[in-house]
């Protein structure tokens, strides 16, 4: 037989195969004998030893799950707590006529047939002396009803368990997160000894990020059992250690201001304490009620949440990526000052459009007739696009990228929540790698007004604003202030801010221009200045959802709501001694100045009011 690599020799092959089968068989016999030897060792030599161990094998270890730590806001209000829930459980072997008992209970407590069926199924799986639940989450009424007739139902009892509750519901759902039943996959990753008696685990938010701290240390009970595995008495008990309580920097009052401020929009608001990096507000609207997840949300409810157009399960503050629009201008302006590309007072004429040499393409300003002659102060105040088109071309994408990177754009802020995303800060390398294309000058131009590829998350914007307000010292936002365990308290976020080494005068100039956005004569967020006794520095932004063609006019009323621009606003206040930095995004809100800025203003007002001596005179 001819093959590619030589000649087959069937006779030789057959001989080899036969010899190999014999070899394999010998190996098998040897290994099997090995097993038998081991069995003889265990069952004859070791029999007495193991029989004694078996007889003594009456001590069972029953896990005692720890109580989960409580989550508080900065003022000590409970965001996640443990409430007792009542379960009606039956011990089948103590009930003589179980069917009759079930019938009576069904009548008494109005129990559905499905639940009876489920109980019967579970009963068959359990041992006769194991309490098996029939009805969960009994109301106080039902408990009272049953208590009256309890003597007539031997073997039936109400058991109390602690269940996780989130009293503020959707308000802080994305921050606090929720616990739910441990999945098989999670079980593998968790320390088995600690979770033997626990059936819930943090799935998202603080509940997940701080799972190790919140969970606590499991205890156990050594129980002596008789030959039927029935518990006789407890030999020893090691008490569980409750999980640590967690105090957030979040303020429920401010969170409410932000969440209600966003009521007409989907969006997010993040506010950061500039001095500490503590997150005061972390709102993502719409939220969802985390409570059903604890006991197991129904597939239908879950699908409704998942399929909703408003995406309530989506943490916009952490994971929403939006073009920063004009909110990027103060940072790009600062970049130009730092690189010496221009100075603060150097004017530029804005005719309403920008054109590259030898090109017909017009990059338009939002103001059709132009801003006339503007310097950086006026360009930020009135949000002149042409000024920043020119600045971007003068700086080039490489410098812009390097400087914005320092402020944390395009990378995670490091906030203590799982699931943060990077956002996107474009660069030549990025485009070559992911878009397989060279960088075009036109892309530099639109990056100059925070459009194009650039994408930032609300928490990134808040962090960048806080860094600016902090005189260029970078902070890492954090939600947890302290973790209070049984014997110790850990403070999170006690960190030395990292200085970016910026020129102080440049930073001051930019903040002055941002102050003019709110308090200046033609600032784009002028309405904020009314009725406040301190100064706010801010910047409005509008993020394009779709692009208008060259000769078309963007007509807000004529287009569909879903196509309308996102409204953005970043702010810091008070200017004299910055304490709070805020970023607000209202999806499809249109103008940053009219929609997003008032929400930021309300948050700042509420925060400064709550601070002692927080009223800054003008």
């Amino acid at each position: 037989m001819d093959t590619r690599f030589g000649y087959k020799d069937p006779l030789l092959e057959g001989r080899i195969f036969l010899s190999r089968v014999v070899a394999a068989f010998v190996l098998i016999i040897v290994l099997m004998l090995g097993l038998v030897v081991r069995l003889i060792y265990l069952q004859i030599v070791g029999h007495e030893h193991y029989a004694t161990l078996s007889k003594d094998n009456r001590i069972k270890i029953a896990p005692l799950p720890p109580t989960r730590g409580i989550i508080y806001d900065r003022q000590g209000r409970m965001l996640a707590q443990n409430l007792p829930t009542y379960t009606l459980e039956l011990i089948p072997e103590r009930i003589e006529q179980i069917d009759q008992t079930l019938k009576d209970l069904q009548q008494l407590l109005n129990i559905s047939d499905e639940k009876i069926e489920l109980f019967n199924k579970q009963r068959k799986r359990n041992k006769a002396f194991t309490p098996t639940p029939l009805l969960q989450n009994l109301t106080e009424d039902e408990v009272a009803k049953f208590s009256v007739v309890r003597p007539y139902f031997p073997g039936v009892d109400v058991y109390v368990r602690l269940e996780r509750r989130y009293p503020y519901g959707e308000l802080a759902s994305h921050v606090v997160g929720y616990v739910a039943r441990i999945s098989e996959q999670e079980l593998k990753a968790l320390p088995a000894d600690e979770y033997r008696g626990t059936d819930h685990v943090g799935k998202i938010g603080i509940e997940k990020t701080y799972e190790a701290e919140l969970h606590g240390t499991a205890g156990y009970e050594e129980i002596e059992t008789n030959a039927q595995a029935r518990a006789i008495h407890t030999v020893s008990t090691t008490d569980p250690i409750a999980g640590a309580n967690i105090y957030l920097t979040l303020d429920v009052d401010l969170q409410k201001v932000a969440y209600e401020g966003l009521r007409d929009y989907n969006g997010a608001a993040v506010a950061i304490d500039i001095k500490t990096g503590g997150v005061l507000v972390f709102a993502s609207r719409p939220g969802f009620d985390p409570n059903p997840f604890v006991s197991g949300i129904s597939a239908k409810e879950y699908k409704a949440l998942q399929d909703s157009d408003d995406q309530p399960l989506y943490n916009r503050a952490l994971r929403g990526q939006y073009p920063p629009g004009s909110t990027a201008k103060p940072f790009l302006g600062l970049a130009a000052l730092e690189y010496g590309v221009t100075d603060f007072n150097h004017p530029l004429f804005c005719p309403g459009y920008y054109r590259l040499p030898n090109s017909e393409h017009k990059y338009r300003d939002w103001k059709k007739w132009g801003h006339g002659s503007v310097n950086m102060n006026e360009a930020i105040m009135q949000s002149c696009d042409v000024y920043f088109y020119d600045l971007a071309m003068a700086m080039g994408i490489d410098k812009m990228h390097d400087f914005m990177d320092k402020f944390g754009f395009g990378r995670k802020t490091g906030i203590d929540l799982v699931g943060e995303v990077d956002g996107l800060l474009p660069s030549r390398e990025w485009k070559k790698r992911f878009r397989k294309h060279a960088w075009f000058p036109g892309e530099t131009i639109i990056t100059g007004i925070g459009q194009g590829y650039m994408q930032a998350t609300p928490v990134q914007l808040a962090k960048a604003t806080a860094t600016l307000a902090n005189n260029g010292r970078e902070i890492t936002p954090h939600l947890v202030e302290k973790v209070v365990g049984k014997d110790s308290t850990d403070y999170i976020g006690d960190q030395e801010p990292k200085s970016l080494g910026l020129n102080k005068q440049n930073v001051e100039n930019i903040i002055t221009a941002m102050t003019n956005v709110v308090h200046g004569p033609r600032g784009t967020a002028g309405s904020l200045a009314k009725g406040i006794h301190y100064h706010i520095a801010g910047k409005t932004g509008t993020a394009q959802v779709f692009s208008v063609k060259q000769e078309e006019k963007y007509n807000e009323d004529a287009i569909d709501f879903k196509m309308r621009d996102h409204a953005l606003f970043v702010a810091l206040a008070p200017v004299e001694d910055p304490q709070i930095a805020v970023a607000v995004i209202a999806e499809h809100g249109g103008h940053g100045g009219t929609v997003a800025a008032p929400i930021a203003g309300d948050i700042i007002e509420a925060y400064l009011k709550s601070q002692k001596g927080g009223h800054h005179e003008r």
Partner: protein, 375 residues
């Protein structure tokens, strides 16, 4: 031809005749039925005397037998032709599972097809030896170093994908089934010795790549007493159960350890411990003999086969069956680390039984298609 036919109709057993027509190899089938029958006896006791468990076990076994008969019908020539396709499909599915596992961020072995979920790694237990046998059948044997290298590389792809899932037990079975083909093809003894030396030298590297829980299992295997309430619990309890069985055992339903819930996984991976406690050394040795008889019949089929592909595949399937038995019992009696391999045909749980019976179906096909048969 005519004589054969007459003989078949003259055979005293109508059932035997029917089985022969179904391409079922009767001695092998009888052996499997005996082990299968025994599995019900053990499961009834280990599973808490629950009819529900037996019914599910029976339905799985029924399905597995049906699959076996189906495969016994397919001509091994066709199996040979389809081998590369089958193998490629398995590798693609394994990659799909790995990708989805990446997305799901956790151990992922299942592919969800909406209607049913399955483990592609199970199929690989068959497709890997088929592929290697298909490849070597094309070469002149004994295999040259180059062919061994190619076969090894082919094998490494699914093995690494499965080990990554992470499912060490299945990875070992797949690797050994492929290695067995090479062995039966006449892999040089020197080469094997060399591999052994290199393997031992590479152990520290393997250790580095193991998951924490896998490391823990190995450490626990070396010294179970170090963690009696955690990872060593399985092995300690298992040894107690086996040892307390003695020579004669405590009798059926007499297993105190499983009954009292001391022995974990008593109806799946650790079912042998229950059996050993109830039926003692006599029972254990009898079960081993039963397995040995099945393996002997499989080897007989392998030797009877004349085509290279058939021979290699049959040899590998037979040997892999033994590896199953050895790894499971070895782990339960504490001479091998715990690697999640079920006791073949006895442990509760569907997938492994289905693959095993499919393997026996292939063996029967090799045997019954190899010789002249009444049609």
């Amino acid at each position: 031809m005519k004589d054969n036919r007459a003989e078949a109709f003259d055979s005293p057993s109508l059932l035997g005749n029917l089985l022969r027509r179904l391409h079922v190899d009767i001695p092998l089938f009888l052996g499997l039925l005996m082990i299968g029958g025994l599995s019900f006896v053990i499961l009834y006791s280990a599973g808490g005397q629950e009819m529900q468990v037996l019914i599910r076990h029976a339905s799985r076994m029924g399905f597995a037998i049906a699959l076996m008969i189906l495969l016994a019908h397919i001509n091994p020539k066709q199996l040979q032709t389809l081998s590369p396709l089958f193998f490629a499909g398995c590798v693609l599915l394994l990659i799909a599972v790995a990708v989805m596992g990446q997305i799901g961020k956790g151990a992922q072995r299942w592919l969800d097809l909406g209607v049913f979920r399955f483990q592609p790694s199970e199929f690989t237990k068959l497709s890997a030896p088929m592929m290697v046998a298909w490849y070597l059948a094309e070469q002149s044997l004994p295999p040259k170093a180059k062919h061994v290298g190619i076969a090894g590389a082919l094998l490494l792809v699914p093995v690494l994908l499965i080990a990554k899932q992470p499912d060490l037990g299945t990875a070992i079975l797949v690797a050994s089934s492929g290695a067995a083909v090479l062995f039966f093809a006449g892999l040089s003894w020197w080469f094997m010795a060399g591999c052994g030396v290199i393997g031992v030298a590479l152990l520290p590297v393997l250790w580095h790549f193991m998951h924490d829980y896998q490391k823990k299992r190995v450490l626990t295997f070396i010294n179970p007493e170090a963690d009696p309430m955690g990872a060593g619990y399985h092995i300690i309890q298992s040894k107690i159960a086996i040892g307390s069985g003695g020579i004669n055992g405590r009798g059926w339903l007499g297993s105190s350890q499983a009954e009292l819930d001391f022995l974990p996984e008593s109806s799946t991976d650790f079912i042998f411990a229950v059996f050993a406690e109830e039926f003692g050394l006599f029972g254990c040795v009898s079960l081993l003999v039963l397995y040995l008889l099945v393996i002997m019949r499989c080897f007989y089929i392998a030797v009877q086969a004349h085509d290279t592909f058939n021979r290699l595949l049959a040899g590998s399937l037979s040997f892999t069956f033994f590896v199953y038995v050895f790894v499971n019992i070895g782990m339960v009696i504490g001479v091998l680390p715990v690697v999640g391999v079920p006791l073949p045909l006895v442990s509760y749980g569907g997938t492994s039984m289905v693959t095993l019976m499919a393997g026996f179906g292939i063996l029967m096909s090799i045997h019954t298609h190899g010789k002249k048969h009444p049609v």
